[in-house]
Each structure stands twice: as structure tokens, then as C-alpha cells.
Symmetry: C2
Subunit: 430 residues, 2 copies
């Protein structure tokens, strides 16, 4: 059993890098989970010949299933349906019932809009309802219908034609999977399980060495496709495997936990944001930030429902603000400098008392590019997380540039809050 | 004169969507600016046959220049150099001087690292120094050298081989442009100018109609490649043109300014963040945010040097915090609700007074998904920007989901601050 698939993203804006493509990676992941081997993801412009050429190339590469995104709009340079009809050996024909259904959507959308050109809208509507004969229609989420088109010649790829906007493409992809045409192709593949683990406090190179050593000790990774990647200062391990390798995955995960239990904070894929939200539940939190300038508060309030436990925060960027708003003693600033564990601690305490919150977090650091010194180079960040009677203080040196230093500081803070709420007095690892 | 180019990104992690590719769009933009027509950007896995097949496909498509990224590491599945040698008809050979230069880098990088396997490092080092005979070497920024490889057969594409990490690829790309081999290919194309304009307060559909009408009035767009795209709630117009069309671009820009001068805030491509930073210069700013939870403060402090004018901010998510920290009168909350221009105004004033700042900004809104009502549905955001004696208040209904509503709120706030500092009492447009 094996299934080769490919993704073709169309659109000059995407090709020229003006807008970034989210569909290629998304569809590719979904195809992989369904057990397909993804041969390639191609981005082509809105040019008939280029699109046709890449489809023929993929057919020659023994690809069984092609997913396209984009090129389904109402204008003449939206030519995916037409090119796919040609590629699959089908004629284009007007589907009048579809034309009517799209019109109903267009009427609803244009209600109350000024200066609507009804004639142009009718023409675009008709164009979108002209589709390859015999294709399955995926009902529009926006105004463009998607298609599933089987080739009239045996052995040639089946094509799933989806619109470009991700919020349309994603539900229509799910609809495509329910068509008989796609099911019959997917029957050639065996779906894969995907599991995640997350670690914090271990360098990627050290984990890579550890994985090599685990293999050396006779633990079999057979049937596991393991990928590690660095995200926001954490390591994510993604593993794909067929159902029959589930036991192997359990051994692998157990061996990893035995070796790195201290830094493996998420054996089940939960993010630190999930964990902190769960741990807070009925406890409240407040922040006092200098170098991160509100990013930690923004991260905490990212989640729907966070108003239940986030009371608020102070952004005390200027030293005057640290004194006036957070009540940091001027002597503390003078004696230890604004970037010090002492000041971070005072900020955490201020966050707790000012907002009457259970947990307070303080962050102060040198985000750069200026402001570094020999003792406190760019990337030096002092953090403090405090509860009634207990606290964790930490100084870290973060790599990268300003934006990365600021983002990673919030990740360190989240882990300090997690550990504090789990009842610990430190964050393991480096 | 015409030059066809293509980009091939290699790497299973990129292909399967685990990490997102920044190189394809980046190189594609650069190629376009050099005047090339980009035929396609392809992502392929670390499989010899797939990479070779896509290179042959591009050669058959009359592509003159191919840029690859990735697959230059020290391990066996890094096979780009080898496949490209084959494709260009060249043998692989060890470059001993290069091997030595890479070793010097590796020695420096591994200094102080624990458990370094010198034998493995030597083997990887040698592998990276085995390159196609006669290729130009692009000196490593990390440890991997890049290559410029001309085909031994006339009429076949020249290949620029670059490593995957963007911080290595980008400087090495610039080095590649200086090689004689690349220069001779680029001589077939004419470089393009790229200009940006930005608008705020006009729907994309309305601008599209306006551009069509401009063409109807006899203004020629000949030689201009105009793209519009929505970014963070603003519209960006990117235009590419050859130098001889510079006059056409000036007329186009002038016609657009005559029609949309009220909402065309940036005729020169400056962002609203640039403008606000310039306008603030020696004036200070502070914020008081509810629904954006610190995102505006974070956006303002994104910029290096922002400590000169950002004093700080309050995140007053809970009503208790609005009262206690920002001094919002409880009656105001009771009478008008937390999401009201009255409360936004009180927050802006509190930001000014609490931080002793020249400009204060207040934001309060319903970011969703919960909390909406008939009168104040999700997306309703009230904002206020205040200076001594002058202010702009605004209520907007923003589209999209929580994250988008929060981000767009910060964009609206930035434009209110810009207009206030420019001496106006409103923000034009919708």
C-alpha cells in the first residue's frame, strides 16, 4: 500500500512572496496523516501553461492525488478549474443549479454594499459555475465552489480543487474527504497517528545526541517518524506512526521520559499555555513587565476565557514608571540596576499587590540591540514569579535578536509560572 | 530580454509542514526585483529522485536560473550538492582548502561543547567540502558552503545552491549575485523598482473598484505591476516597474493620492509604526488596555530605541483593575459598561496621568468569542487617544476572530495616535 500525493498552490501574490502561503504546509500535513507520501508542494503563478506543466509533471511522477488551492475566483485569471478539466480530459459545462446557489450567496454578501455592479457580479457568478463535467462539487464556504475531479484515463491522478482563503479551504478539504472519489484513492494508504511531546530547558543538539544514544541502547524506533523542532524556545517532538507501531511509540516515549523527565513538561502535547491556564483555574495572575513591554500579558490574554484569571498587568518601561507605578525602591534600581533579580522580584511583588492577584510575574532585561554591557549583555533577562510565601527567581541569557529575546522571555516566564503552580521552587534544565 | 527563474526548497520538515519555509518567498521576491519571471517555487523532501526530477522539469520549462535552499548539512540525507553536480554534468571532488576553512569554523563552534564526537565532525566536515568541480564557492556563514554551478551543456540552467537557515542564506545570496556566472545570467533581465503605498480606512473592494475606474479614465498603468494586499487591517499597494516606467508610476501615485489622499497615509511605504515613532520623537506615550491585553504596548516597544518615548502601560483586564489601577469611576462602568467610549476615554486619561506621558491611549472592547451582546457584538472596540487639550475617540466594529480583532485594534489605535500627533481631530475613512 502506498499513495503519492502533491500540493499545487496557485497565485501570483503567493509566488512572488507578497502574501505568505499557509495552505501548502496545512494540506501537506493532512495528507501525511492520511498516510500519503507527499512528493512536493509547488507554488505557481496564474499562468495557464505553468499550471498545466506542473500537473503533467506530477502525473509523470506517479502521483495519485493532487490538491490545488486558489484560482477559483470570478475573474479571467482564475483558471484552475479550466486547466484541471483539460488535464483530466473533461469538458467544461455550466451547472445551473450551482449558479443559482452561488447567486444566493452573492446577493446576501452584497446587501447594503454601495456601487455594486450587478452585471459584473452575474458574469463572475456564471464563470464560477462553469465546472468540469462529472466533477463532484464541494459547496462554497465563501463564493467559490471546490471540486473533486477524477481523470477520464485510468492511472492518472485525481485532483481536489480548493479555493485559496484558508478559512474556506479547510472546511472544504474535510468535505472532499467524504467524496467517493477521494475515498477510493485514500484506500490505498494507511492513516498515521501523530503525537507531540514538548521539552523546555534542553538544547536541541543535546536532545539529538540523546535520541541517537537511545537507538544505540537497542530501543527500536522502527515505524516511528520522529522530527524535532525548536518553537518559541521549546523543543517539540512530533512523531508519526501507523497504528501497529503504537506500542513502539509508547516505549519510545517512556524511554524519553526516563531520560529527560525533568525537562519533558508535556508528554501529551499540551502547550505551556494550556498548562498554565489549567493550573491557574481559580487562581488569579498579574504581570509587571519591562523589556517584554506587555507581551506576557498579551500572551496570557490570548486565550478565550482568560478574563477569569488574568487581572491585569503593568508595563513599566521607564525607570520612573518602575518607581511610580510598581513602587520599586529607587535604591534597588541604583544598587542593582534595572536589570537584576532584585528588581524582577520587586516587579513580581508589585504585580501581586497592585492587582490583588495570587500570582505575580516580573520581567526585566536587555532586549537590545542597545543597552548591553559586559556584565549584562544583550539577551540578559531577569524574571521572577511569586505566590504567597513562595517564589522562583531566574536570570537567563537568551540568544537571537530583539524580537526573539522578547518572545523567549515570555516562554521562560510561562514555565516559571507553571513550575511555581505545580509546587516546585525551580525550573529544571538550562 | 527575459529571464525565467525558479526556486527549489528542500527538506522533509518543510515539505511536511512541520517548519514553515521563509526562503521560497524571500528568494522569489529578490528574483522578481532583478527582473526575472519566477516560474515556480517548489518544496521537495530529502529524496534524491524527487529533487533530480524537479530540476529536470525546470530545465524542460526553459528556466535559466534555479536557486535551491537546504540539503547542505554534514549528514548523508543532505544531498543537494551531489544531485546538482549530476544535473549540471559535473563530478564531485574534495576541495581541501575549503575543508580546512570549514574545520576552522567547526573548531570555533565546538569549543567548550560537551561530548563532541571529533570523528563524526571530521567526516561531516569532509562531506561538506566535496563539491561539484568548477563550481564557485560561496563562503559559509554557518558551516555549509554555498555554490554557483553552471551546466557543462549550453542552454541548461545555472544553479545557485544555498543553505536552509535564512540567516545564512540571505548574506550568501548577496555573495552569489557577485559571481561572474550569476551576473552573466542576470544580464538577460532588467532590474525592477519596487514601491509601496499604504492606506487605512478603505475596504479592499472599494480600492479595487477605484483602480479599475482610474484605468477607465485613461490613466495608463502600462508597465506597472500593481498588487494590493490586506495587512493587519491596512491595505498595502506594491508596484513593480522598470526604470523607464518611473514617470508612469509617478502619475499613478499622484492619481491615487488625488482620489484617496484622506486615507493614503503612506505614499512612500512607511508603516504607521514608523510614522508614530517619528511623530513621537521627544514626546512620550503610555497606554491603558483592556481587550488587547498589552498588545499595543508590546507593539510600541517592538522598535529598538522605543524606550526614549514609551513610558509604559496598564493592562486593566478585570473591572476591579480598571477602577483600582486606572481610577475609572465605578459609576462610569455601571452607566456605560466597560466597553464604551466613556471608559476608553477614562483609560486614555489614566495612561497620561499615571505615567505623566504626553499621549495616552485607552482601548476596551469585546474580543470574543464570548461577551458579545446585541448592542455590542463581538468585534466592538472603543478607543481613545488623548493629548493635552485634544483627543480622538472612536468606536469600531472589527471583523474576524479574537486574535484578529485584538491585532486590528492595535492598528486602529496606531492610526488614532498618528492623526492626533499630526494635529487632526479624527481618522478619515471607515
Amino acid at each position: 500500500m502506498s499513495l503519492r500525493a502533491a500540493v499545487v498552490v496557485t497565485g501570483t501574490e503567493v509566488l512572488t512572496g507578497i502574501i505568505s502561503d499557509a495552505n501548502g504546509p496545512w494540506v501537506s500535513q493532512k495528507l501525511r496523516e492520511l498516510g500519503a507520501t507527499v512528493a512536493q508542494v509547488s507554488v505557481v503563478g496564474d499562468r495557464r501553461d505553468d499550471l498545466r506543466a506542473v500537473l503533467e509533471f506530477l502525473a509523470a511522477q506517479q502521483v495519485d492525488l493532487i490538491v490545488t488551492s486558489g484560482g477559483l475566483g470570478p475573474t479571467a485569471d482564475d483558471l484552475t478549474a479550466e486547466v484541471v478539466a483539460d488535464f483530466t480530459g473533461r469538458n467544461m459545462a455550466l451547472d445551473e443549479a450551482l449558479e443559482q446557489r452561488i447567486w444566493t450567496i452573492l446577493e446576501r454578501l452584497s446587501r447594503g454594499m454601495r456601487g455594486v455592479d450587478e452585471q459584473a457580479m452575474r458574469a463572475g457568478n456564471r464563470k464560477q459555475a462553469i465546472i468540469p463535467e462529472g466533477a463532484d462539487i464541494l459547496e462554497p464556504v465563501g463564493t467559490a465552489p471546490g471540486l473533486v475531479v477524477q481523470s477520464t484515463q485510468p492511472g492518472r491522478p485525481t485532483v481536489i480543487v480548493l479555493p485559496g482563503p484558508p478559512r474556506e479551504l479547510q472546511p472544504m478539504w474535510r468535505e472532499a474527504l467524504n467524496t467517493e472519489a477521494v475515498r477510493s484513492v485514500l484506500a490505498r494508504a494507511e492513516p498515521l497517528e501523530r503525537r507531540f511531546m514538548r521539552l523546555f530547558g534542553i538544547p536541541e543538539a543535546e536532545l539529538a545526541r540523546s535520541l541517537r544514544e537511545l537507538e544505540g541502547t537497542g530501543i527500536s524506533f522502527d515505524g516511528l517518524e520522529v522530527t524535532t523542532c525548536l518553537r518559541r524556545g521549546e523543543i517539540e517532538i512530533a512523531t508519526l506512526f501507523r497504528l501497529q507501531a503504537a506500542e513502539t511509540y509508547r516505549s519510545f516515549a517512556a524511554a524519553l521520559a526516563a531520560r529527560h523527565g525533568d525537562v519533558l513538561f508535556s508528554p501529551d502535547g499540551k502547550t505551556v499555555d494550556d498548562k498554565v491556564a489549567e493550573l491557574l483555574s481559580d487562581r488569579s495572575i498579574a504581570t509587571a513587565e519591562s523589556c517584554t513591554g506587555g507581551m506576557l500579558a498579551a500572551r496570557l490574554t490570548d486565550r478565550p476565557g482568560s478574563s477569569a484569571y488574568v487581572f491585569g498587568g503593568l508595563v513599566v518601561y521607564a525607570n520612573e514608571a518602575k518607581i511610580a507605578l510598581a513602587g520599586v525602591p529607587p535604591e534597588l534600581l541604583a544598587d542593582h540596576g534595572a536589570v537584576s533579580v532584585q528588581v524582577a522580584g520587586a516587579l513580581a511583588d508589585a504585580a501581586r499587590t497592585r492587582f490583588d492577584a495570587a500570582v505575580g510575574v516580573g520581567i526585566t532585561g536587555v532586549a537590545g540591540p542597545g543597552g548591553g554591557s559586559e556584565n549584562k549583555p544583550v539577551g540578559t533577562v531577569c524574571l521572577s514569579a511569586a505566590l504567597e510565601g513562595r517564589r522562583i527567581d531566574r536570570t537567563v541569557r537568551l540568544p537571537g535578536e530583539r524580537a526573539m529575546i522578547r518572545e523567549r522571555s515570555t516562554t521562560v516566564a510561562m514555565h516559571m509560572v507553571r513550575r511555581l503552580l505545580e509546587g516546585h521552587d525551580d525550573v529544571p534544565g538550562r
